[in-house]
């Protein structure tokens, strides 16, 4: 992009002007290691819903983590794209948690997953229409006004597309975040998975989003089946995804980066070392920018 200045620091208004580097997800199999060994980790991502409870061990654990570490909240059930109005009880719990963790930004997915109060507990792809973009952006604004922290919207991996769509996924993402004036959590693994499932060039996606809105990135592993790829988060990051990450970093600048590993979770050290591989791509992007 002509005239764009490469950003060497991750801070922007969509991540609360924070300087978070490479983080990993806070996961149950690692709790004992983290609390006893106190490894050096730049930040942890927590799934908001796991801690939106009234009491007990989850909050005890969270408070111990917060004593030592920085934490960012990532949600899985806000369903920005659902036609349902935001659930006020859910929002109140979310805001209570935001104040507890002092998360500098909040993320959730550009998807739908509930209809008339029934939840699918999945991240369902949107129809890429202008009407859906307007409705989704309005919901994001309402939620941001309520929780009072910046919001980053994550692109999901998908296995279906709709006839009614009027634009590409990256055009839809752009439309939503511009209308909502919010940030992007750029999941490069999801871009890769979707690009294979829907036969588009992932670099077209990366080249055509508003790079200055990227507040955070995700990397993750996936699983290849005969006719599709599934976003399983149970493997190391594959080379084509690292390449996309490198390109995304060159385009967007250095960004807070998180490795998602949610199933068949290996040791803490293995997960953390995998995440830290991002550094070589960040270094590469910095050199290319000089």
């Amino acid at each position: 992009m002509a005239g764009r200045v490469f950003s060497y620091v991750p801070a922007n208004r969509f991540n609360g002007h924070s300087d978070y580097g490479i983080g990993i997800g806070l996961r149950v199999p690692h709790y004992a290691h983290i609390l006893s060994k106190k490894p050096v980790v730049d930040w942890f991502e927590i799934i908001s819903e796991n801690f939106m409870v009234d009491g007990g061990r989850p909050l005890e654990l969270l408070d111990k983590i917060l004593e030592q570490y920085r934490v960012v909240q990532h949600g899985v059930s806000m369903y920005f794209g659902s036609a349902d109005k935001p659930d006020r009880a859910h929002l109140k719990r979310l805001r209570t948690l935001v104040r507890r963790t002092k998360t500098p930004w909040l993320s959730d997915h550009l998807c739908w997953g509930s209809v008339d109060g029934t939840y699918t507990h999945d991240l369902l792809p949107m129809p890429y229409t202008f009407a859906a973009a307007r409705r989704t952006a309005e919901k994001i604004r309402q939620i941001r006004d309520f929780v009072e922290v910046p919001i980053c919207v994550e692109n999901v991996s998908s296995y279906a597309e709709f006839h009614v769509s009027e634009m590409t996924e990256w055009e839809f993402l752009t439309e939503v975040v511009e209308l909502a004036d919010c940030g992007i959590l750029l999941d490069v693994n999801n871009i890769y998975v979707s690009s294979k499932n829907h036969a588009f060039n992932p670099y077209d996606y990366l080249n055509n989003i508003p790079h200055h809105r990227v507040g955070q990135m995700h990397v993750a592993g996936h699983t290849k089946f005969e006719k599709y790829i599934l976003d399983t988060h149970d493997h190391p990051v594959l080379d084509p995804v690292w390449k996309l990450y490198a390109h995304a970093t060159r385009m967007c600048g250095v960004s807070a980066t998180l490795l998602e590993w949610d199933d068949k979770i290996p040791s803490f050290d293995e997960v953390h070392n995998e995440a830290l591989k991002a550094n070589e791509f960040i270094d590469g992007a910095k050199k290319a920018a000089v």
Binding site: E49, M52, V53, D54, G55, G56, R57, P58, L59, E60, S77, D87, H90, S114, V115, G117, T118, Y119, T120, H121, D122, L124, Y159, A160, E161, F162, H163, V164, N197, H198, A199, K227, Y228
Partner: protein, 288 residues
């Protein structure tokens, strides 16, 4: 349309139902709103999502109900969970609440758990009480001074929202502990390469409990889950307090023949556990 389609129960071989609710072929219905690609038809793309929905919820169900799986067996449990999720799809943003209406459903559809319906009901109630104990609200505990400074006829004590009192026909606590032990041992053994074939033979199905009247409180202490057996008289006292009785009426509910020293010892134990709060009765969630 898509949401309705993917929450319909799968076929016996885990496929999408071949016909829509109006009788039209599902292939045609899916093609109306989902694009095919060069590898998958519209039907197959929708089927992916439907399978993910059912597998995800079934897994969550199994994780929350190991006692029920052990009591009913895999096939009966699978039938029950499928029917339950069809009747009561998730109405909460969190899977934590998935089993909140399970006991009610078992009573609505006793054939699904026959001939063990009574047992299944109590296990469902018990396993839900565990969920409540794990992350239920904790209110400020009542101080000992309040007990001594307020006349018993006027003193009302609430029970912490995370404490569930259960009056059972079966010793479900013992059964659930045995199931958890067996599952832990199975998990350990299955990590050994040569042990896979031995696991099933050695770790047989946990024996089903025989009828025996049991009173138990499912609660947490220092954020760990506990089951506390209660004397029937102690249960009556706690139950009366939970229902809003004054302290004196609650103690009277224990019945004749209960020594004051015994009641004192019970209260000392319950106070030490932090079970009493000022207004828990107004805010606690009923677990049964």
């Amino acid at each position: 349309m898509m949401a309705s389609a993917l929450v319909r129960p799968l076929t016996a071989d885990d496929g999408l139902q071949p016909r829509w609710i109006d009788g039209r072929p599902m292939e045609k219905v899916a093609a109306e709103f989902i694009k095919p690609n060069d590898r998958l038809t519209s039907f197959e793309r929708l089927q992916l999502y439907s399978r993910m929905y059912w597998f995800r919820l079934s897994d969550a169900f199994r994780d929350d109900c190991p006692g029920l799986v052990a009591a009913l067996g895999e096939r009966a449990f699978a039938r029950l969970s499928k029917a339950y999720l069809e009747r009561y799809p998730s109405r909460s943003s969190t899977l934590r609440d998935l089993c909140s209406r399970l006991e009610q459903f078992i009573l609505e559809k006793p054939r699904l758990t026959a001939p063990r319906t009574a047992l299944a009901c109590e296990i469902a109630r018990f396993e839900w009480a565990q969920t409540v104990a794990f992350d239920g609200e904790s209110l400020p505990a009542v101080a000992a001074e309040r007990l001594s400074s307020t006349p018993p006829s006027r003193l009302r004590l609430g029970l912490q929202p995370y404490v569930t009192l259960l009056s059972l026909r079966y010793p479900i606590d013992t059964f659930v502990i045995a199931v958890k032990r067996r599952d832990a041992l199975r998990s350990e053994a299955s990590n050994t390469p040569a042990a896979a074939a031995v696991v099933h033979r050695v770790f047989r199905r946990t024996a089903l409990p025989r009828r025996r009247s049991t009173h138990v409180a499912v609660h947490r202490h220092n954020n760990r889950l506990f089951y506390k057996r209660l004397d029937p008289a102690a249960f009556r006292i706690l139950d009366a307090l939970r229902r809003g009785s004054s302290l004196s009426r609650a103690i009277a509910a224990a019945g004749p023949g209960v020594r004051p020293s015994q009641v004192k010892a019970w209260f000392k134990s319950w106070m030490a556990l932090g079970w009493f709060c000022a207004d828990g009765n107004k805010r606690r969630r009923a677990a049964s």
